[in-house]
Symmetry: C2
Subunit: 437 residues, 2 copies
């Protein structure tokens, strides 16, 4: 992308309403714009990051055997009356009356709807195991939306739902999602710690929150210091028994403050870390809670109908954009991990109009474009300092500065955003260095 043809409305001033780093930086970097309280438009730069995150989530869900579907945003009230949650859910549910006076709602989650799909089609245990997910906008009418997209009202969530014949098989489905979550977040450069959690309004027997560490986190978290040295194994065979893998991770203590009891903590004080964290995922096993209420049964091997065992598995896709920024930024701006960066490399032409600089910047642009690295070329007229500050603000992982003085010796400057390290080298060396990153 050439910056002269892009829409990147950077803000010089920090907006007053932004209390935390991610909100401040997303507004300053022109990633989002507020539409109304807790509701945002994603501008071109923000949309690119959102897509990158969504694609990683999708790939890892597919790898773990989940099937992608797409349920609508607007649901009929009847389904929630069947489960009993229509009255329970309270004011966070956005309730709607359509032109024929039917009660509808903007889905805050989809347990009822997926159970309705299941019961319409599945009759036999032979169709199991089954796990279906969608990545869809949800709405929760927060009483006080804040922190930008971190606690918004309209938000993008991946929610998966598993169906199994019995509790043991449901546990295996839970384990697949547990492990795939660790992989998903690791690919985004995050250490996400699974913490035993309360099941809350979803209900159920077993639950883990996945929490990343950040100073501005909404919860206090307590965990064994060995969590800081976790190294995820490379390959996962989702057909294998994953219980040993899950046991390995859950054996290390980790609780958010609502579940932590300081007086009965099994970890000694010198091994216990206490920091703040942000929830980015939450998984639940809730057995037959919805299948019994809604009549979702299958015939088992003995021919008898039994209610199916279910779990649900959420990832806050839009929230992750803010979560990654909270975990990875400095005074100059955002520091995107390579896997979610909106552009892989920025090429800053210090002197557009200078024939040598223009030719070299274009040549670099073509090479990175052909290699699929999604380059961003700053071809605008602006002060060199302002141009470099902009690339730091929007957090492009690699930056190449092409200027007339360097070009006299066929040299460009290469900078790694994360470390701030810079080095002069020939343009060809710069290409090789960045492609082999």
């Amino acid at each position: 992308m050439r910056l002269s043809q892009y829409f990147l409305p950077l803000l010089k001033e920090t907006p007053k309403e932004a209390q935390i780093a991610s909100h401040r930086l997303m507004l300053r970097a022109g990633m989002v714009q507020q539409s109304s309280a807790g509701i945002y438009s994603w501008l071109p730069l923000g949309k690119r990051v959102l897509d990158k995150i969504e694609n990683i989530v999708r790939e890892e869900q597919n790898r773990a055997g989940a099937l992608e579907i797409l349920m609508p945003t607007i649901q009929p009230a009847e389904l929630w009356q069947e489960s009993g949650r229509y009255d329970d859910y309270g004011a966070e549910m956005l309730r709607i009356v359509d032109r024929h006076e039917r009660n509808m709602l903007y889905g805050p989650t989809n347990e009822e709807q997926i159970t309705d799909i299941f019961r319409a089609h599945v009759r036999s245990y032979k169709a199991l195991p089954l796990n279906m997910y969608h990545i869809q906008w949800k709405f929760r009418d927060e009483v006080r939306p804040r922190f930008g997209i971190m606690r918004g009202r309209e938000f993008l969530m991946k929610d998966a739902y598993s169906f199994d014949l019995d509790g043991d098989k449901a546990r295996a489905a839970y384990n697949r999602m547990f492990v795939s979550y660790l992989k998903t977040f690791a690919r985004m450069g995050l250490t996400a710690i699974p913490m035993e959690a309360d099941t809350g309004p979803i209900g159920g027997d077993m639950s883990h929150e996945f929490i990343i560490l950040a100073e501005t986190g909404e919860s206090g978290v307590y965990f064994h210091k060995d969590w800081m040295n976790i190294n995820l194994d490379a390959d996962i065979d989702y057909n294998a028994d994953l219980q040993p893998f899950v046991d390995k991770y859950t054996s290390l203590y980790a609780r958010a403050d609502d579940m932590h009891d300081a007086d009965n903590c099994p970890v000694t004080a010198d091994e216990l870390m206490s920091l703040r964290g942000i929830e980015i995922g939450h998984i639940f096993y809730f057995g037959t809670k919805y299948s019994e209420a809604m009549g979702a049964t299958v015939s088992g091997p003995d021919g008898k109908a039994v209610p199916v065992h279910m779990g649900s598995y959420g990832i806050g896709v839009s929230r992750l954009v803010g979560g990654i920024i909270e975990a990875s930024h400095d005074d100059k701006g955002i520091i995107w991990p390579d896997s979610v960066a909106p552009f892989g490399v920025a090429i800053v032409n210090l002197k557009p109009g200078d024939a040598v600089c223009d030719a070299e910047a274009e040549r670099l642009y073509e090479q990175f474009d052909n290699a699929g690295l999604e380059p961003l070329l700053d071809d605008r007229n602006d002060r060199p300092g302002a141009k470099m500050a902009s690339m730091d603000l929007i957090g492009i992982p690699w930056q190449i500065v092409v200027g007339p003085r360097g070009m006299e010796n066929n040299m460009v400057e290469v900078k790694r955003r994360k470390t701030g390290e810079t080095a002069e080298m020939s343009p060809d060396s710069a290409v090789i260095k960045i492609l082999n990153r």
Copy 2:
């Protein structure tokens, strides 16, 4: 994908409520399931097709220089009060009151919201031309939703919005979208005829509907018979003047029945064709209608502030799924064009459990998978006739049948869904034939 691990709930009976082919076939092929009137869940097969169509739309929008953003589904009423459309829009607008008693709505279109984004950030004509689009769910509360996803209430639309300094430049932006629409639909195997249209509630000076031919179309259409022999040129330079290209297409008569006047038609009776059609896209130039009402101005080269000239450009992404089926099906089921097929090739193992058949089916599966052709392997136990009928129903463009008798001579049967042609050949020849399609 292996069918034993997939969720493909085919229906044997034709659902009574389905009046047209696409609705009937989408239900029978397990592509969608109704959630409430005019609102559907997209099951795995349907989601794959929807994604394919969405990606073609996205690629062609990007190629034409439009920038992708994502505006939210829920909009504040204030924006629509500014433009004057809040009261005009009528009962099709889904109006919502949030917990703080603020008036909101589920966006049926986004002219107001994009104008709000533009006016917040753009001050100078130097930022123009600018064209931003999003692919987002919309809601129109149809009084009588019908024909499945063809006239649903919640539907996926691509809508682009162009901003230019004056009418001439806006015309060039309009032309870029006009041409990119022809390319977009051609890539989906469709002949879409642009027809001069009324501007309706969007308002404005110039408008074309893009209509594909189908017996079950909602409108009568009248057009010069040469439209049946249109051949789209391969490459488009979007930086060039596209007026001659647009003139070439608009010089051929084409009108939907609301704009056709039989008594004053310039085409002679023997050159005029009269068929039925389905609207799949609609483009508008409406000048300063919204920019004046909402104060979206830029300073021109002379420093004076002028309201910006706008156009909007819609494609019914979810509607296209039905439109393609209406244009391409037979008694046996759907016939997907290769570019939007949910799977590129089906491998039907007639005898799962037979070591030779299993090994050959798996080998073919791996080869097509590695080549990126997205194979579907039917590895279930079922009658051969039922298995082949299922692949015809869901419309997979190429089908390879692996059976014990053929394998005695190392032969498989290859079928082209579109023509029904079959041929026996070695598995290696089948791979070469299909990869070189």
